[in-house]
């Protein structure tokens, strides 16, 4: 599904990813853990197509399609979704209008029919309830004045609405209360199926208790320095990253 080979990425002139290789097969959930500043968000932004991230070498494909030559919206239309570590507030943009516009833009790009206003409304209400955003929250300008946790819920609302084929969740768990953490687990488990893949970036094992990952990778010094099963997360939580940073 998502294949990353020997990826080199520079930001502001400095090379942050220095030959990263990762393969997430369809149907699997992989977790990435790693110290602050190790390049996790750099990886997520690069996969999503942010142009400030300069790809100096390597390949990124989704089901064989070369993502690196596509615009961010083309990647989105292919089913790529990024749950942002720091979701933005967009004043003046109505939440529902925006989500519906985005959804229809994706559908149009895929040659699918647009969702009707009525179907959209029904669905967004239903999903908002699941992620714990009340009606008033989705009738406001996008994320304006939202708490950190509410913004993460809004990311999850969009993920459940778009039903992406591949989702990158960049520290979605940071800033979430215990109930919300469980909600994120439920949302991921609900979407999980043999055709979808997930890359979950996190600092803590908590979320991984709900989402049992198929693999856990340690990102340090711009590379994957260690891969293992779900038990690796527990080991990291106990002993920290030092051993891996030295190894890298």
């Amino acid at each position: 599904m998502l294949k990353i080979e020997d990826l080199h990425v520079a930001v502001g002139g400095a090379e942050i990813l220095t030959g990263l290789t990762l393969d997430v097969p369809a149907g699997e959930v992989h977790a990435i853990m790693g110290p602050n500043g190790s390049g996790k968000s750099t990886l997520s932004h690069t996969i999503a197509g942010r142009d400030a991230y300069e790809v100096r070498g390597g390949r990124v494909t989704l089901d064989g399609d070369n993502l690196l030559e596509l615009d961010p919206d083309e990647r989105a239309a292919k089913g790529l979704f990024l749950s942002f570590q720091h979701p933005l507030e967009i004043p003046g943009v109505q939440t529902m209008t925006f989500i519906r516009t985005a959804m229809n833009a994706q559908r149009k790009a895929r040659g699918e029919e647009e969702i009707s206003a009525a179907d959209f409304l029904k669905r967004v209400r239903e999903k908002a309830k699941i992620v714990g955003l009340d009606d008033a929250k989705i009738k406001r300008p996008f994320n304006v004045g939202f708490s950190g946790g509410e913004k993460k819920r809004m990311e999850m609302l969009q993920m459940t609405m778009f039903e992406p084929r591949f989702a990158i969740m960049d520290e979605t768990d940071s800033g979430l209360d215990i109930d919300a953490l469980k909600m994120v687990g439920d949302v991921v488990n609900e979407l999980r199926d043999p055709s979808r893949g997930f890359l979950v970036i996190t600092h803590y094992q908590r979320l991984l208790d709900y989402i049992k990952p198929d693999a856990v990778h340690v990102l340090a010094g711009g590379k994957i320095v260690k891969s293992g099963g779900a038990e690796l997360a527990a080991e990291l939580e106990r002993s920290g990253y030092d051993q891996f940073i030295e190894a890298a």
């Binding site: 999503a48 197509g49 942010r50 400030a52 615009d71 961010p72 919206d73 990647r75 989105a76 239309a77 979704f81 990024l82 942002f84 979701p87 933005l88 967009i90 004043p91 003046g92 943009v93 925006f98 989500i99 516009t101 985005a102 959804m103 833009a105 994706q106 790009a109 300008p141 969009q158 778009f162």
Partner: protein
């Protein structure tokens, strides 16, 4: 009008003189106004308040547009759906609706034109006073509340300079909505609007400038506010070679309340200047002003706002905000917010910002599937939205919204 086209400086000057000479009857006030204009000339950028809108320069390079056609059939207004009482001023000729009237509104063509003491040193207003022949006038009777809007269409299609006036009064406790649209692809259009909002009256004024790129427009609106009077104005302009709309408000008495909002959407070399002066004299008046300017290419967004708060105007509450969004390196925003306060117990503030589209927001929207155009359009629409959303009349709001959407198609 029988003046000659605006082509070169000499023909412009000669044209204006000829136009003045050709007038059948000229009042002393008009003769004096013409003399005043001749002495002052079109303001250039060295004149205070005209730094960014150099009429002197632009009137010298105005190219003649198509000549006036005698065909007075005009396309239906974008406001037609609001079922307005429609007055057309086509190349200076005032055309009243034949059989249509609104109960409580009296209107007609006036022989005398207005002069106003505070326009003494305003060359363009003086020229207007000198050259306008007839004015459109209307008044709304006391206590009458009019639902249907009154639409004044300023249509300018020729190379002849056009001068028009409107004189209006909303009597005590009346309510009325006035829409003015500036249309066509003419050369030079100047209009004065004298508006009295009497005690307790509520007037909404909507101004839409969506006219030719080569048009030079000058609008001057003087508003006299009564006690407890309310005034709500929203303007939207896509500019022209030079387009300046001035609003001069005076609160001689207490408890007046106004919103004066504006938005400019400028592409190519188009220029819009919204200049306002609000003079607070009475106690406890409230003024809110919001300007949003968007410019791409070499568009020029000008905003000049001044709140004058005289010593007698205690408890004035006045806030002014101007924000510009520049979509290219060559686009310009020039804002001049000013407070001049002589009273001590007041709440006054102003703020001005200018910036580009936010890259983080653009990336966020594109990650969600919007293409580059869609993402930019959504953010620009959101930027201008505050002004559009503030429009009190549902029908007018939709027309303005459609105007913004149309502009955004080309972004």
């Amino acid at each position: 009008m029988s003046s000659t086209p605006l082509i070169t400086p000499s023909t412009l000057d000669a044209g204006l003189k000829a136009a003045f000479a050709a007038r059948s009857k000229t009042s002393e006030a008009q003769a004096a106004a013409f003399e005043r204009f001749e002495k002052l000339g079109f303001p250039n950028r060295r004149v205070e308040g005209w730094k960014w809108s150099d009429f002197n320069a632009v009137t010298r390079r105005v190219q003649p547009a198509n000549d006036i056609t005698n065909d007075n059939t005009v396309a239906p207004s974008v406001f037609a759906g609001l079922n307005p009482l429609e007055i057309q001023i086509i190349n200076g000729r005032i055309i009243l609706p034949e059989s249509d009237t609104i109960d409580g509104i009296e209107f007609g063509i006036l022989d005398s034109v207005g002069t106003s003491p505070h326009m003494e040193d305003h060359a363009i207003a003086a020229l207007n006073v000198a050259l306008t022949r007839k004015a459109f006038g209307f008044s709304v009777a006391e206590g009458v509340s009019v639902e249907r809007p009154l639409l004044i269409r300023h249509i300018n299609t020729g190379s002849t300079p056009i001068f028009t006036q409107t004189m209006a009064r909303a009597e005590a406790n009346s309510r009325v909505k006035i829409i003015e649209s500036f249309e066509g692809a003419g050369a030079y259009y100047s209009t004065l609007f004298h508006l009295g909002v009497r005690d307790g009256a509520h007037v909404e004024r909507y101004l839409l400038q969506d006219a030719g790129a080569e048009m030079v427009t000058h609008g001057f609106c003087g508003v006299m506010m009564g006690r407890d009077a309310q005034f709500r104005q929203t303007s939207l302009s896509t500019g022209g070679a030079l387009c300046r709309h001035e609003t001069h408000m005076l609160y001689p008495g207490p408890d007046g309340d106004s919103n004066i909002n504006s938005a400019s959407l400028l592409s190519g070399e188009r220029h819009t200047d919204f200049t306002t002066i609000v003079a607070h004299q009475g106690e406890g008046c409230k003024t809110r002003q919001l300007h949003k300017g968007v410019a791409r290419d070499r568009g020029r967004n000008i905003f000049q706002g001044k709140f004058l708060v005289e010593r007698t105007a205690q408890k004035t509450d006045a806030k002014m905000t101007a924000n510009a969004l520049l979509l290219s390196d060559t686009a310009e925003a020039n804002h001049k917010p000013e407070l001049e306060i002589y009273a001590d117990d007041v709440e006054c503030a102003h703020g001005s910002t200018s910036g580009a589209l936010d890259d983080d927001a653009l990336f966020y929207l594109r990650q969600r599937g919007l293409d580059e155009h869609g993402a930019r359009a959504l953010l620009i629409d959101a930027f201008v939205g505050e002004v559009i959303d503030g429009i009190g009349d549902d029908g007018v709001r939709e027309v303005f919204r459609a105007g913004v959407a149309q502009w955004l198609e080309a972004v």
